[in-house]
Subunit: 312 residues, 2 copies
């Protein structure tokens, strides 16, 4: 199967609403919503860094798009479409069929059509760029947090990192526990509805991809503020809660790959209910720095850093 057959078979569908030209010309052509801003984000996934060779292709297709949609969610954007650039060592039709199935399933449920891209031969690499819209001035940014705002997080943290530790052989879990945390790692659901509902409510937002400490740190740096973070308040699964305290802390604070939203909002503001659990985990303070405390308010020493792709 050649390059163009591959595209036609797995990645081409009739153009969706709002798309004048989809896959198959030099460019895709989209119809912007009058008055809206255009939001763009791009993420590249490399085998061994962002996913393991053991992942089912369907889950990989889901995850490759999910981590990108999560950036739109963090900005409160409504998805409009995405491009996929794919380097493949070889054409494996069964793998491609599974990958495309997972990709399209999430694209359909997110109303975010595939509109173009590229395929080439090379070491496995997936690069997705997503496009979305938000009304002018309403995109959620990292820079709006103010002293006194409360810090919230959606869903639960740390399961993806716990699954990674199982794959690394440092932790053993029973079958059901492993499936729970593995699904968190391989099938994150981007918080699109929450992000959109937080427009005009949240003062700052980010998605947790590199670990809570680092990602919250980006909000603090961009907003010029500090924070107190309540370790014991961090929402976690029963599987993670059954692990030793040290491991829990690592998974919760520096796990990464969570794809939950962390956001700040003025105290007492009414938060939207979109069927996703929201937990208050701390407060923004004027004093710079990120102070992690336990339920008694005592400082927690953790020595953890955010994930860095080039740190030794």
């Amino acid at each position: 199967m050649g390059e163009f057959d591959l595209i036609r078979r797995f990645f081409q569908r009739p153009a969706a609403a709002g798309v004048d030209v989809g896959v198959g010309d030099d460019c895709a052509v989209l119809v912007p919503t009058p008055g809206a801003r255009w939001l763009v984000s791009s993420d590249m996934l490399v085998e061994g860094r962002h996913f393991l060779s053991t992942v089912a292709p369907e889950r990989l297709g889901h995850k490759a798009l999910a981590v990108n949609l999560s950036d739109l969610a963090a900005c409160g954007a409504t998805p409009r479409g995405f491009t996929l650039a794919l380097a493949l060592p070889r054409v494996d039709e069964a793998w491609l069929a599974g990958f495309a199935r997972g990709l399209w399933a999430l694209a359909d449920v997110s109303a975010c059509p595939l509109i173009g891209g590229d395929t080439t031969q090379g070491p496995l690499n997936l690069c997705i760029t997503v496009f979305g819209e938000a009304p002018a001035g309403q995109a959620l940014l990292r820079s709006g947090a103010r002293a006194g705002d409360e810090i919230w997080v959606s869903g639960r943290l740390g399961d993806a990192r716990l699954a990674l530790e199982v794959f690394r052989g440092t932790v053993a879990l029973d079958g059901a526990g492993f499936e729970t945390v593995r699904a968190a790692m391989e099938c994150p659901m981007p918080r699109l509805a929450l992000g959109q509902a937080l427009r005009g409510v949240a003062t700052a937002a980010i998605d947790v991809s590199d670990g809570l400490l680092g990602d919250l740190g980006h909000i603090l740096a961009a907003s010029g503020v500090g924070a107190r973070l309540d370790l014991d308040a961090l929402p976690r699964s029963a599987v993670l809660a059954a692990q030793p305290a040290d491991l829990q802390r690592t998974c919760l604070l520096a796990g990464g790959d969570d794809y939950e939203l962390v956001f700040t909002a003025p105290r007492g503001v009414r938060l939207p209910d979109v069927g996703v659990a929201l937990t208050r985990i701390g407060v923004i303070e004027a004093e710079p720095g990120l102070r992690v405390v336990d339920v008694r308010g005592d400082a927690v020493e953790h020595g953890l850093k955010s994930f860095d792709h080039f740190a030794s």
Copy 2:
């Protein structure tokens, strides 16, 4: 140097005009031009397939953006911005400085700012997604060619392929000749001004990235027409014109990496003068198929195909 330092040092600048938020948040935020369509294209470059390890990083930075801008040019779009996702085996500051220099130089001259992206560790891979605009209904597509239209090409064809043959060791050139064709391979200039000037003039357009036969074939397939192509009319450099006829034919018809525009236009229409040579190379016919003829109108047997990343 960590991931975020790397981004700040080489890839972050103050947001450009029309960009509300650039590099440094979850998404970039752009201000669309009222009434315009939004055009998107994405290309991934892999070492050994799209560039050689011998290429100077500055030229690679130029070329990675150039091949993407060429897709905007083929659609007659005005550039608005691009994202860069970069997988690097390691952080090599001298390489990054050169790469960024070449990238920014073309970005600046094309008024196409870098607005976001991703960096990760992995086998060298460059994925750029470009965004542009065109008035509604004026994007140049592959599908508008009509019988009787003339076929035109910008600049010259075949030099990039000739350079590749030198690198492969199948052809020897003197130093000046090699530099000429090497520059064509490593430093293509996207035909943005030409593409924009062809709005409302050309009936169909594409850029020559996989070879003239294949790319013109895409126009014919999308438009439901055929063509007669005059081999002897194809514009070529003096360096290529001095090569054996067989090699010339291969480089001209199936070379690829040319990044010139091939377009169709009604006979007698006034073509724009943007300082780029335009050559009439054939005519669109109702009969399907692509017939290559010589200056006497006799059929040329060539046995050539377009480049396919997954063909054996």
